[in-house]
């Protein structure tokens, strides 16, 4: 399942995330809403926060697993 795969990639990238979720928005397994709260985002501009998420999901973004991605990030401070 794609959701589990994305979740595990994000867990690897944000091991200390107090909140992390991946939602299959359409049930089709390729439109996702990703929500991550992590101390890694603290003090970073939104663009860099999203860049970290994109980096963590680089492979599924490249191979077409992810057709559409929505990202919501939050720092812990």
């Amino acid at each position: 399942m794609a959701v589990e795969k994305l979740e595990s990639l994000l867990r690897d990238a944000f091991p200390d995330a107090p909140a992390l979720s991946v939602e299959d928005r359409t049930g089709g397994g390729d439109h996702f809403q990703v929500t991550v709260e992590s101390p890694r985002f603290d003090g970073l501009p939104l663009l860099e926060q999203h860049r970290l998420v994109n980096d963590a999901l680089a492979e599924p973004l490249r191979d077409g697993t992810i057709h559409e991605l929505r990202i919501k990030t939050k720092g812990t401070t």
Partner: protein
């Protein structure tokens, strides 16, 4: 450097606000592109749109230039602002208007018109 890549760079560097999107403002082909376009319109931005769908090379070359993996992508004065989520968040918090004002000047919305640049042929409409 390919012609397409050069036109992409030219557009980013020379147009005040550029939206790389799926479809055109008249015929949007993707929900995320639509959200970014709406956010920019609400902020009164003079949008120059580039449709990435006519050829896969546009997307590839754009990713090389910007280092950003997804569509849409919004640039203001040559600088990447972000994708749909960031643009929408910034619009909702009022920050987008501030960015536009800082970079383009307070009169940025006066007479703002939308245009579409075709990076395959170099034509605009």
């Amino acid at each position: 450097m390919t012609e397409v890549s050069e036109r992409i760079k030219d557009t980013i560097e020379n147009e005040p606000v550029v939206l790389f999107m799926k479809g055109t403002p008249q015929f949007v082909m993707c929900g995320n592109s639509d959200r970014a376009l709406r956010a920019l319109r609400e902020a009164g931005a003079p949008v120059t749109a580039v449709d990435v769908l006519p050829d896969p090379s546009i997307r590839q070359e754009l990713q090389e230039v910007s280092g950003w993996p997804t569509i849409p992508q919004v640039f203001v004065k040559g600088e990447l602002v972000g994708g749909a989520d960031i643009t929408q968040e910034l619009a909702e918090s009022g920050e987008l208007r501030k960015i536009l004002e800082d970079k383009l000047g307070p009169g940025y919305a006066d007479g703002a018109e939308e245009q579409v640049v075709d990076v395959l042929s170099g034509t605009r409409a």
